[in-house]
């Protein structure tokens, strides 16, 4: 891995060079009712709009590689039969400028199941292979527990990664493509002092985590506590709205639907991202529902993320970004759920108890 120092005043130039491509990055969208700034990943054409100092985005950049709704194929239907036309819905490379480590790790996890298994999904693979990622170091927010999930740093899955050292960035270069871009701006080799600044910056980040989740033996504990009352208690709180899945950078469940177009000569097959908390997630034809209670659905969500995925890939499917906790309408928080399963009881929280 190669490290370079890039002065902040060089950034607009770097952005300019890279903007020969479509750039997606964090931009300011407004403020919530408490006055807190809301950020979102959107196409950016001017460097000034790019907010590399963003805290977190309410939604991940998922819509660019796992859109909530996507056409899988179209059909031309004639009285004799039909023909199928497949498009992976990506026609140019995209630069993702300013992803935090959690979101990069989420992509790495998705790669494992969607790209590197038997039957890879070409719709995801095609988009993923056309991503150029500029990562950026961040400071923990009140909801972040990435450190507990081992996703506070990204070891791979990006092209370059920036760490803010005041008036300059430490740039970690992972690909030739990134190196090529950087040749258009002025960089220098990091000095011993800059190494120290970098280490101090990471230490500062570590000091700022305020949530710690004990994941020791979690797969075993989830099995032992399968019939625990806490699942029903959390289920009674859960609204089964699916918000958690929609803001999750690593949720990929979906449903498939087909529709005949109004001309009656063509049809379309659509994939829609789903949520295992939605009522009919495990319903089969005829109406039998394998998970009719919201508690069993919520439990399944934790099972998939913290047990099933671990069993298959030796890591959890959760990156601890805290988006689901922040957006949950019923104040259900992953760290609290995990803790309650471990201790067998749900503790009262400050956020109001029903």
């Amino acid at each position: 891995m190669i490290f370079k120092i890039l002065a902040k005043q060089e950034m607009p130039k770097l952005f300019q060079v890279m903007s020969a491509n479509r750039i997606i990055g964090p931009v300011e969208k407004g403020a919530d009712r408490n006055g807190k700034t809301i950020y979102a990943f959107e196409p950016v054409s001017q460097f000034e709009k790019l907010r590399l100092d963003y805290t977190t985005t309410s939604r991940p950049a998922k819509s660019y590689f796992l859109p909530s709704k996507e056409t899988l194929c179209t059909f031309k239907v004639t009285p004799q039969g039909w023909d199928k036309y497949v498009d992976f819905n990506i026609h140019e490379p995209h630069i993702f400028f300013g992803l935090h480590a959690c979101d990069i790790n989420a992509l790495n996890k998705l790669d494992k199941v969607l790209m590197n298994t038997k039957y890879p999904t070409p719709y995801y693979t095609a988009k993923r292979k056309n991503m150029f990622i500029v990562g950026i170091e961040c400071m923990p927010q009140p909801f972040c527990f990435c450190k507990s999930m081992g996703t506070d740093t990204a070891d791979n899955g990006f092209d370059m990664f920036l760490t803010d050292l005041g008036d300059k960035y430490m740039v970690e270069i992972e690909s030739a493509r990134a190196y090529n871009f950087l040749e258009n701006v002025e960089t220098s080799d990091p000095t011993e002092k800059e190494h120290e600044e970098y280490i101090a910056c990471i230490a500062e980040k570590n000091r700022n985590f305020c949530i710690d989740v004990d994941t020791t033996d979690l797969t075993k504990i989830l099995d032992m506590e399968f019939h625990s009352d806490v699942w029903k208690q959390w289920g009674d709180k859960c609204l089964s709205c699916g918000t958690c899945a929609s803001v999750c950078p690593s949720c990929y469940c979906y449903g498939v639907e087909e529709t005949v177009n109004l001309d009656l000569q063509s049809a379309v097959k659509t994939k829609q991202l789903y949520s295992c908390n939605l009522l009919d997630f495990a319903e089969v034809a005829g109406g039998h529902n394998f998970r009719p209670e919201s508690g069993t659905r919520l439990k399944y969500r934790y099972y998939h993320k913290h047990r099933g995925f671990v069993e298959e890939f030796e890591e959890s499917l959760c990156v601890g970004c805290g988006r689901c906790d922040e957006s949950c309408l019923a104040d259900i928080r992953v760290p609290e759920v995990i803790k309650s399963v471990r201790t067998g009881k749900r503790e009262k929280t400050e956020s109001g108890e029903s």
Binding site: G81, I95, K129, E257, A267, V268, Y274, A282, A285, F309
Partner: protein, 301 residues
């Protein structure tokens, strides 16, 4: 200087990729024709489905217990167990109940309709492992559909198995599937027990639940069940628990008991998560599981 990144076309990348890892094959569908439809009961029909391309038809192979995704463009796609013999390759039979959106539409289509078939997917019954042993096939209701492929396989290799017993139960006589084949199965030296829960006026066979047949026939055969019997079970969720518990108590080792689970797959290839049991993909690790795996998976039956 041009700073545009190169576009990666995954279809041109690594041309060595074939079959299951081929990106171009994900949405691949065999064009197939419904060549005939037999009504079996008021709600179930047997569809004969033939892959149209002759070469692809003969190259299509599956193992008993596997399923295919059947697609009707614009209407939908759903998983169905293959109900025909594997020696027939891409000339398959699917036993389908009229119950949902797609199957209700299917009940209306005429023979000659062009559909799409993807697969075969999933695990199968280890019929070779069962050579030299007794085979006990237990089906409840529509559960006979996925068992028909292993039944054909056993029939075609009858000399390789010892006693073969099919126990089949439904609620009413009018729900019995494949009635026209019972005589043939018996003639091929298969011990066939049929039982119904609610008899009608014309019924002169056994009355009760499948567990009654099991109790009557196997209560005193614990040694045989333990030492030389394989069991295959398929039926509605409530049946699994009772039958499997009884078999376990009767002596059948759990690694020699196989069940086929029903879940609603949307993709069939371990991506959509809709068929997950606990955190296991029914489409990849199943639909056929041994009973040890079932016990080891949460909320399977």
């Amino acid at each position: 200087m041009n700073h545009k990144l190169d576009f990666t076309n995954i279809l041109q990348e690594s041309p060595g990729k074939r079959g299951e890892t081929d990106n171009g094959k994900f949405e691949f569908t065999y064009k197939a024709e419904i060549t005939n439809v037999y009504p079996l009961t008021d709600t179930e029909r047997l569809y004969q489905v033939q892959i149209i391309d002759e070469k692809k038809r003969s190259q299509f192979t599956f193992r008993p217990g596997q399923f295919v995704m059947l697609e009707l463009p614009g209407i939908g796609e759903a998983p169905f167990s293959i109900s025909s013999s594997p020696v027939r390759h891409g000339d398959i039979e699917l036993c389908i109940r009229r119950i949902g959106n797609l199957t209700n539409f299917l009940a209306k289509v005429e023979r000659g309709t062009q559909i799409g078939i993807r697969g075969p997917f999933g695990t199968s019954f280890p019929l070779e492992e069962m050579y030299g042993q007794d085979v006990l096939l237990i089906a409840g209701g529509l559960g006979l559909a996925p068992l028909r492929a292993p039944i054909f396989s056993v029939l075609e290799n009858r000399s390789r198995y010892k006693n073969v017993n099919i126990i089949y139960g439904t609620r009413q006589p009018s729900e019995l599937l494949f009635t026209y084949q019972y005589e043939m199965w018996r003639k091929f030296d298969i011990d066939l027990d049929i039982i119904v829960e609610k008899p009608d006026d014309g019924w002169d066979g056994e009355v009760g639940l499948i567990t009654k047949v099991l109790k009557d026939k196997y209560a005193d055969k614990k040694d045989r069940l333990r030492d030389s019997t394989y069991a295959i079970v398929c039926g509605p969720p409530v049946m699994f628990t009772f039958v499997c518990d009884m078999l376990r108590e009767g002596g059948v080792p759990m690694q020699k008991m196989f069940v086929s689970l029903e879940r609603r797959m949307h993709c069939g290839r371990g991506k959509c998560c809709r068929c997950n049991v606990g955190s296991t993909y029914t489409c990849l690790k199943g639909p056929v599981f041994d009973y040890w795996s079932i016990m080891n998976m949460k909320e399977a039956i």
